[in-house]
């Protein structure tokens, strides 16, 4: 409960702080910004299109591997707590688990998914 309150307080404070920065020099920001000033930075030229696009992510296969790997990492947190208590058994079990998953990484490496496709 205190955790939740602390987190909410911190977020509220951060939002207030950022809003206060904006409000500080509010005099100028109430005027609508003219179009030439809104043009995105390209070093003085005018873009033809919006920048938002079906962006070509060059590493998308890596993200899929990453999600699977991270899912696995979530098992390791409870494991870490009981590691000393359980001793070698825990080490062996997690070792096996990690070796299984390393196969996935090695396979991805072999398929070249860590390159900028």
């Amino acid at each position: 409960m205190t955790t939740l309150i602390a987190i909410i307080l911190i977020f509220a404070f951060s939002i207030l702080f950022t809003a206060a920065l904006r409000a500080g020099v509010g005099a100028m920001s109430t005027v609508p910004i003219p179009y030439p000033q809104q043009r995105p930075i390209l070093g003085g030229t005018d873009p033809e299109t919006h920048a938002w696009q079906r962006f070509h992510v060059r590493y998308y296969t890596m993200t899929l591997l990453f999600v699977a790997f991270e899912m696995e990492m979530m098992f390791m947190y409870p494991w870490a707590v009981v590691f000393v208590q359980e001793g070698p058994k825990a080490l062996a079990e997690m070792g096996m688990f990690l070796i299984i998953l390393s196969v996935g990484i090695v396979y991805g490496w072999r398929e070249g998914i860590f390159r900028w496709e």
Partner: protein, 343 residues
Amino acid sequence: MGMNWLAKIAGLAEVPVFVAIGEGAPSDTAISLCTNPALRSVETPRAAAILLVVGTIPDALLPQLHRLHDQLPHPRATVLWHSGNRLSEATTVGGTEDIGASLKDVHRSLLAGNFDTEPDILPDVPPNEWRGIGTHGQGGKGMMGGTPYGRPMAMTAADLRDGLELDAYTADFGPFLPMFPPGLALTLTLQGDVIQSVAVVHPPFENHENRGWVLLNLLGLPALAERMLRVSNDSDTTLRRLIHLSGARAAIPKSLGRTYDGSDVRARFDQMTGISEHAMNAHVHQTGLDDLLIGLEWHEAMLVLNSFDTAPLRTICANTSDPEPDEKMEGGMDHGAHAGHMS
């Protein structure tokens, strides 16, 4: 009263300057600006209070200068230095004056309100009329069509590397980007961050400055870049050792940006930063920018662009085959649509 207080403190800061370099800028511009304690050269016009034009911007690039000018936040001012340009309301500083002190004065008077902020040069009109067009009044049509909020959306094209057909973003980049050699403006088509095609809009200006410091900056070493500018002679062993320890050489991919004579970015980097004494004769007679840049990721492409001195880079730009004539030959069908939608 509160404003005055803030303005007073702000006046003590280093003046944030965005530098636009033109033709005939002194070759030690970067050195004199960076060693001046009163000012700080920033990466984007959004962070600048003063637009400093060094040298003369040719007429062909004046529209770009005007757009750049209008992108600065208020309060802003323009200062011309060693420049033959005429801009309304701009302050001209003589070549012999202390640029730092002059800029500081301008900045202080801007903040105090003694000096009016410069209005836009360009008219306040959207790139395309959009207000009230379409059912939602956002200027769009259907899913992808029209000009929502003033611009059309990018359309798909095949990719060089993996053949996925996602959106290709085409735009002119430069000439006033800090990571571009001064004066260089390119039309680039990007898919993601990989360059698909390149055409030269404007070649870089003649200039004899060493671009080694820019390379260091692009490698994430701005402090070393400044140090390189500060030491006039090459005998700073600390600098060389620091560059060596930073792993900058290893960070540049091998055989990146290789020209036909065999030198790559790494070799040119060694020469520019004085690591290698071996003088290279840059033979770039057959190399064009399209050979060098197409298929590169953005960061690599910027390293390649800045690894050349101005003279070879101008040759390379001249060698670049322009895709425009091909286009005219290939697709003479729908030019009405082309012009109508793209301008």
